[in-house]
């Protein structure tokens, strides 16, 4: 049975992604800072640590067999006015999003290319497409992921590996606190669908790209409630 690594597997989106992929018959290795009890294999890992990440990928592969799927859903959000963003905060955002994507993808790609089979999905953000105030460091990091996805897609397509992204809009997860501006009724009324995306809807997009979208690569799906059209 094919196996897939999901990072951020303990988060609101991550848990929904694990569930949908398992529903499709995949075995899932969950990578997070805390255990992922729903996953078939759980790794507690700091994705900013290259050696630790590579070792976790090896253990997951030893436990579940060849890993042909990777969903990069680990993330971190903060809202800071552009002029207040420190070098450390900007670099940290890049490392959490782009760096973690690179490290896991680099560990998995040799095997995928050898088997001529693989599918990678990075969870980006609607903010990487449409931007948002006080989001420059976050949007830059997520935008960098989209650039990496498109380039990697072109690079590994001849080897039969697909690379895509999902750019969710504001999603109803614990990452969105109850006082978040995205939960403000006035904001929701301005959204075309009038509702936040649900983690399951984001997970359905990931599931499509991993399991069904066999002629899709370099593409981004946008479950964003119509926030960016």
């Amino acid at each position: 049975m094919p196996a897939v690594i999901v990072t951020g597997s303990g988060g609101g989106m991550g848990r929904a992604i694990v569930a949908r992929l398992q529903h499709r018959g995949l075995r899932v290795a969950g990578f997070d800072r805390a255990p992922s009890p729903e996953a078939d294999h759980s790794e507690i890992v700091d994705l900013t640590d290259a050696g630790g990440t590579a070792a976790a990928v090896s253990r997951a592969s030893a436990a579940l067999g060849p890993i042909d799927g990777f969903v990069s859903a680990a993330g971190h959000y903060s809202s800071i006015p552009f002029t207040d963003v420190t070098d450390a905060e900007a670099a940290g955002m890049l490392d959490v999003h782009l760096g973690a994507f690179f490290r896991v993808a680099q560990a998995l790609l040799p095997g995928m290319i050898e088997r001529e089979h693989g599918s990678i999905v990075a969870v980006a953000s609607e903010l990487a497409v449409g931007g948002g105030e006080r989001d420059s460091h976050y949007a830059a990091a997520k935008g960098a992921v989209l650039g990496a996805v498109r380039s990697l897609a072109a690079e590994v397509a001849p080897a039969g590996v697909r690379v895509n992204a999902v750019a969710p809009g504001p999603t109803d997860t614990p990452m969105l606190p109850s006082d978040s501006p995205w939960r403000d009724p006035e904001y929701l009324r301005a959204l075309p669908t009038r509702a936040l995306a649900s983690p399951d809807e984001v997970a359905r997009c990931v599931e499509f790209l991993i399991c069904s979208g066999t002629f899709v690569t370099g593409e981004t799906l946008h479950p964003n409630s119509g926030a960016v059209i």
Binding site: F208, G218, E219, L221
Partner: protein
């Protein structure tokens, strides 16, 4: 607020236009397999359409969508025969190739009229039908990679398909508040009978034509109709309501996110 949705006791009804073509046939099969009652439209009666209806349980419907009145009648007849409409897949299209300066204006406009105005009339009538039951709906409009990138000698087709992308963006915004989600799929080169036409035009055999197209596609092959049909099924799913006004580009990596 709760999103409008079809009660689970009700069988969802889908209308697929251009169902006798390569893409449409696979869409009818996928939506039927997903449990929907499909009305399969084609411009002319054919053994192919009858066989599809026989195989999937779809209801065949023959109309020329170059005629707006016939187009509206198709939707009304769908509702009359099935009771409701939940999903519209605007898949029909016509194409003719010509350099712009040499183009016959009547032929140029026939392409735009069928692809863009036909979809306009179809969608307008479908929205009325979806509003009648108030459970929302899904509209999937089949655009084209050439509507994103343009293509030499395909100005009428590309303009009509680019027009569909703008139509989807507007309707995505306009109709999402009532639970009618409008999205587009822009397929790249897909293995349909059209490729034989292209091969005949180029004076080569089908396999050579496949190879020529594949050279421009990162995945190194043309697509299959089932790969577009899977995306139609995905967008038609009532459990997915967060996508509105979006364009899914399915082309083996040829455009990579360009819209």
């Amino acid at each position: 607020m709760s999103k409008p949705h079809t009660p689970s006791s009700v069988r969802r009804i889908a209308l697929v236009t251009g169902a006798a073509g390569g893409l449409g046939t696979a869409q009818v099969e996928a939506l039927s397999e997903a449990g929907m009652q499909v009305v399969a439209h084609a411009r002319t009666a054919s053994h192919r359409l009858d066989a599809l209806a026989e195989r999937t349980g779809a209801i065949p419907a023959v109309r020329d969508l170059a005629d707006p009145e016939a187009t509206r009648a198709l939707v009304r007849e769908t509702v009359e025969s099935t009771g409701r409409l939940d999903v519209l897949v605007a898949n029909h299209a016509t194409m003719s190739m010509s350099a712009l300066v040499a183009a016959d204006p009547d032929e140029w406009w026939r392409v735009v009229r069928t692809n863009l105005l036909g979809t306009f009339a179809l969608t307008q009538e479908a929205v009325r039908a979806m509003r009648a039951h108030g459970d929302g709906g899904r509209i999937v409009i089949i655009s084209s990679e050439w509507g994103v990138t343009g293509w030499p000698n395909a100005s009428a087709y590309a303009a009509s398909k680019a027009g569909l992308i703008s139509l989807v963006k507007c309707l995505g915004r306009e109709l999402a508040p009532e639970g009618i989600l409008v999205n587009a799929i822009a397929p790249g080169v897909i293995d349909t009978p059209q490729l034989q036409v292209d091969a005949d035009d180029a004076g080569v055999d089908l396999q050579t034509m496949h190879g020529r197209y594949a050279e421009g596609i990162p995945l190194g092959r043309v697509g299959h109709a089932t790969e577009i049909a899977e995306a139609v099924r995905f967008l038609a799913d009532p459990a997915l309501a967060a996508m509105a006004g979006q364009i899914m580009q399915i082309n083996g990596g040829a455009t990579r996110g360009r819209v």
